[in-house]
Amino acid sequence: MTDFLLELRSEEIPARMQEKARADLASLFAARLEALNLDHEGIESYATPRRLALIVRGVADATTAMTEERKGPRADAPAQAIEGFLRSTGLTRDQLVERDDAKGGKLLFAVIERPGMPAPSVLSNACQHVIHAFPWPKSMRWGEASASTESLRWVRPLQGIVALFGDALVQFEVAGVKSGVTTVGHRFHHPGPITIGSAADYIEKLRACHVIVDGAERRAIIAVGAKMAAGKAGLALIEDEGLLYENAGLTEWPVPLLGRFDADFLSVPPEVIQLTARVNQKYFVCSGADGKLANAFICTANIDALDGGAKIVEGNQKVLAARLSDARFFYETDLKTRLEDLQPKLEKIVFHEKLGTVADKVERVAKLARWLVTENIVTPAKAGGQSQAGQSPETLGPGLRRDDEEVAKLADQAERAARLAKADLVTGMVGEFPELQGLMGGYYAAAQGEDPAVAEAIRDHYKPVGQGDDVPTAPVTVAVSLADKLDTLVGFFLSDERPTGSKDPFALRRATLAVEILTIVSGLRYHLESPIAFGTKRYFDQADQRVRSELKPDSKLEFSGTPWKKLIAVDPDDDPEDPPVEIGGSFFVNYWLRYSANRALVAGVPGLLDFFADRLKVQQREAGVRHDLIDAVFALGGEDDLVRLLARVHALQAFVTTEDGANLLAGYKRAANILKKEGFDGTDAGTGANIYAAEPAESTLIEALNAAEPRAAAAIEAEDFAGAMAALSTLRAPIDAFFDQVTVNDADQTKRAARLALLARMRDAVHRVADFSKIEG
């Protein structure tokens, strides 16, 4: 048992690739050793900017020797067959063994000894194989060998290989690099060669030469060092896991250093400073005692500088000052233009080739956001963060008093916020840092004196971005965020740009989930169909307008034989002799044509509601709801009030674990099974009790149903699904008694039909709550 060390030294490996490369090296090597039958006790792997290293612990000295037996032809088989077998096994006739077969004849067997291969040659094979098969996300050719495109590809030029089995060199050569026993230390602290004795001294020898081989150790050094540097300055480090990895991937000998920037730069929004520091310079930032961003940063040098890092800090301070000066330039320039004045620029940005410009989108979203308020879907009172089982959309209206003034104000704010929400896309700051979209809009809106609710809505209208993100509850924000996402969904579904499989380039799944979460968290009551229909109408209205303005009055465009003017009810001026005119490109025209051809399309967008249902199922499954319960509720179909849908799912989830729930399910299953077995289709349903003398258990069940049905119906009406289920659970005892005492399959067809119908009635009553046949157990 011996340890094996492999080090692949190259020019600097990108930080973001190191962790995966390290894992790949271990798993590829393990797989290769397994294929070659070389036993070992475990594999460790390491990555620094300049090396990938692997230590295989407890490698066997050789692969296991094996004896392989192969059955050949009969001993008296034709010579040709025997010769073929000899060729395939590489043996001679006298080396074959004869054995009796079951029929009394003789069979030939080849017994091939495969001796164990010595570990070094297996390791050499494995190294070469792994290097050639290594899955770098991006790789390159270099040097003289690159005159051929077949030369070895590596992440950056490969400079050296150390391969030691115990203290013995494992010899091989890859792309002109010979394996050896020497490596190099830190680029500046210890540039000369270092001889490695074995895996045992590798890590410590490198440490002595200012290289920390283990990335986890480098991360710990940075984390602790940065915290201490901040603490020493009376500040708190703002931790950032991503930066830890990145800086550990950029250093072999990390030294965190604290620097300062001019406090005047704190006039720039803190998010901007943090982003500039992180993205451009890979610096950590700190907060002061007041919890606000402090004028300090922490960079991670890759050297113990002779002067203690004074020059390094000074240099980094200059760089950050220049970066912040640029950020401030953008910020101050942006502040000079009011958001509404950026509208003309939005007209030049294509949102999507089939969906028009960003300005077009803003127009639609503004209308939809206002509509969500005027339709009482988003209300001043309701979007307060409370999820409550309120009134269903059907009963909402006169019964609930709304302060009209408040609604009007909210509607104005929603529209205003929607109109300004996308303006920051054309500001200098968002051009430089796209991830600041929304946030900068919020700052600029506040700076130009918009209502705080409007500024907040502009800031947060992209939220929630995926599961776990903050979910806005402020009414204005909810209206704008919902409208923005619904408009996107409607548009892409109208133009058949739906997600397929793993492809979802426009993040429609995320948008759908966002709509659902916003709706659920604020307890918004509405039928999804309505805003979808309204949103669709906005696309067609824009198409209509565009067609009217773009088409020349004398255009001969027609659709299905009808001239365009007739379709939009302008005086027809058609000459049937002229062929239709081709008008290229405009998405609006395509919509308009579809709209004109089938105005019924306005009523809905094919597939969108099902898509919502699918996403909600996924979301609920991820939230831990049993998938069979979700299926049981969704199987009812026709429900597009998300809040009510979920109330049902949650009530069902609570109910099935109770005794009542178990009872109801058991009774239901018995009834459903019989109905299934008897192939009862319900067409001859009727209450047979009137035409023959019902048995006592039968009567009891009928009475129980008569009592339970209206109670359940009333509970469902009141959206008290738990109550409905409790009412139905009273059927368990009568059902059991019924099965015990009554023969369903009576010889009298009248009785049989009536009893089956009774069971069907029970089943149908349960189905008003959920499709219990989907529930497992």
């Binding site: 991006k138 390159m140 050719r141 690159s146 500046f188 950029l250 050297i303 240099g315 220049a322 000066s325």
Partner: protein, 284 residues
């Protein structure tokens, strides 16, 4: 500093060339880089190239962003095995002390959409500031580089700021500090230039004229290609690329059009490179 670099690279086998006399966005556009990166012949050269990046103009108000600056370019084909050490040697030669400064090779995959070129390498950081672009060319004009060339692009102003320890590029001392004459700073030479050129790039340049120039350069490039003249054709591609950058700075190219313009310039550059390959009898 330039003289030191010339000495250093000349001693290591590089031809010392002069700047290309056209407006271009980077030293990579110089024919000594773009065209010479193609084909099998060894090629080692070093030169200074003035660069113009209209959108980087800051009216002379940013301490290190300029719309006109100087790059020092070294191209070595095939890339030598000790290119990193050679490069660090050149930093030492111009006075960068690597025991007190923090030199880092930070991933930067270089790609020039307008040249149809890409390579892998790093931006070299000195105390957090990018001072050099270090690239192993993999493709140029859409053709695989066989063999691969190594390209070093030094930002001369930024390096000078380090060596002279200045906070602003405009404070750099331009003439021999030990001489007896008056001191001329970078600002004395270029500040007014930056102010006026920024204004022209962003606000004044006549866009109709620019659009017209772009069309004419593209047409002339095609004309040259029609006559089997890759070098003049490539010059027109350089011209078109710069005009596109000016239009971009004027903010008159929409996002949708942008891709189309970049594609147009790339086609011109690729066409020129293809003609150059053909003229030299090199297979793709």
């Amino acid at each position: 500093m330039i003289l030191t670099l010339h000495d250093y690279w000349s001693a290591r086998g590089c031809l010392i060339l002069q700047p290309y006399d056209m407006r271009m966005g980077a030293g990579t556009f110089h024919t000594a880089t773009t065209l010479r990166a193609l084909g099998p012949d060894p090629w080692n050269a070093a030169f200074v190239q003035p660069c113009r990046r209209p959108t980087d103009g800051r009216y002379g108000e940013n301490p290190n962003r300029l719309q006109h600056y100087y790059q020092y370019q070294v191209i070595l084909k095939p890339s030598p095995p000790d290119l990193q050490e050679l490069y660090l040697g050149s930093l030492a030669a111009i006075g960068v002390d690597m025991q007190t400064h923090d030199i880092r090779f930070v991933e930067d995959d270089w790609e020039s959409p307008t040249l149809g070129a890409w390579g892998l390498g790093w931006e070299v950081w000195c105390d957090g500031m990018e001072v050099t672009q270090f690239t192993y060319f993999q493709q140029m004009g859409g053709f695989d580089c066989k063999p691969v060339a190594g390209e070093l692009t030094y930002g001369l102003e930024r390096l000078a700021m380090y060596i002279q320890n200045k906070d602003s590029v405009y404070d750099l001392v331009f003439n021999d500090a030990e001489g007896n004459g008056p001191v001329y700073t970078y600002g004395d030479v270029f500040l007014e230039n930056e102010r006026q050129m920024s204004k022209w790039n962003f606000e004044v340049a006549d866009t109709e004229t620019l659009f017209d120039l772009f069309r004419k350069a593209a047409a002339e490039c095609e004309n040259c290609l029609g006559h089997g003249l890759p070098i003049p054709a490539y010059e027109q591609a350089i011209e078109a690329s710069h005009i596109f950058n000016l239009l971009n700075a004027r903010g008159v190219i929409s996002v949708a059009e942008r891709q189309a313009y970049i594609g147009r310039v790339r086609d011109l550059a690729k066409g020129s490179c293809a003609a150059w390959m053909e003229k030299n009898g090199w297979a793709a």
